[in-house]
Symmetry: C2
Subunit: 178 residues, 2 copies
């Protein structure tokens, strides 16, 4: 699967919730997500622009691999997400074969759906408010059209700047390095 995803800083969750509801977006689940990101023993994932993580939510646990971004504007990339039985077991296996738990990102995420968009209002521990808009494509579909649609939706919601290609994990890392 290819995901096309763009995120931007927003001023306030409350204001954006009102705009989304006015637009007709449907409020769906709200969940707490804890992501443990792993460092590879053979490459620097920051340089290869990949990510390997375990995500634990209120109801599920996943392993997610994200491949390098395929273009500059949006975060268009390969993503493999697989449900698993246990975050503790997955961490144990990764560590045994040479990976290292490098950073944990915790957030409360409020999902909205609108047409074929998935919209997230992300309250990340340690960061300002962000909104993410995503479209999932089959491997064969064209992603530049999807990307244009995402930017048009941001515009309709009054957002024309503050776009951010850096991951939450790296944003937190940059804060700590200041």
């Amino acid at each position: 699967m290819i995901e096309v995803e763009v995120k931007a800083r927003i001023d306030s969750f409350k204001e954006m919730e009102e705009k989304l509801e006015k637009l007709g977006a449907v409020k769906s689940k709200r969940e707490f997500q804890e992501d443990i990101y792993f460092a590879s023993p053979i490459v620097d994932f920051a340089k290869t622009d990949e990510a390997l993580r375990i995500r634990t939510t209120d109801n599920n646990t996943f392993i997610t691999y994200k491949g390098p971004k395929l273009n500059d504007k949006a975060k268009t990339r390969k993503e493999v997400e697989m449900a698993i039985e246990s975050a503790q077991k997955a961490k144990d296996i990764f560590e045994e074969v040479g990976f290292r738990a490098a950073r944990t990102v915790r957030k409360n995420r409020q999902y909205y759906t609108y047409e074929n968009f998935e919209i997230s209002l992300d309250d990340v521990e340690g960061l300002n408010p962000y909104m993410e808009i995503e479209i999932a494509l089959d491997d064969s579909q064209d992603y530049s059209t999807a990307q244009d649609k995402i930017f048009k939706l941001f515009e309709r919601l009054g957002i024309t700047d503050g776009f951010e290609r850096t991951s939450y994990m790296e944003l937190l890392e940059n804060l700590n390095n200041d």
Copy 2:
């Protein structure tokens, strides 16, 4: 979890099934198992005596990590087994982060239970008949007692030699290298 497991070549499945039933062992599930073993990009698992595999059975899919053997006679080792959603996704993730699918082992396994033993009659594609007896221990329990019990059970079933510490994967590999 620590598993203590010993396997031995046997002459015939039919003869051993009769002996197991005479002993009072309970025939449980029979399943087809396909194991994909992975090679690590940083160590030679054959040398470090580890294994990382995806097991697909009739009903389930798992990732299994096996640590180095802790002693010489039995295959006493750390094992982490985690249920997953999809073998294909797991293979995709492993390959993306540098592992390589190295060998596939297919077998029909007939399970028996007796006291706290798990007994397997293993019809491995390309190998002669084998029987495996296993006890699972908490990390804290003593494994030499468990090991003695396993060898005594083999003796009661008429097996005093033909013990094999080499994994099915390596036995198949050795065949191919002849």
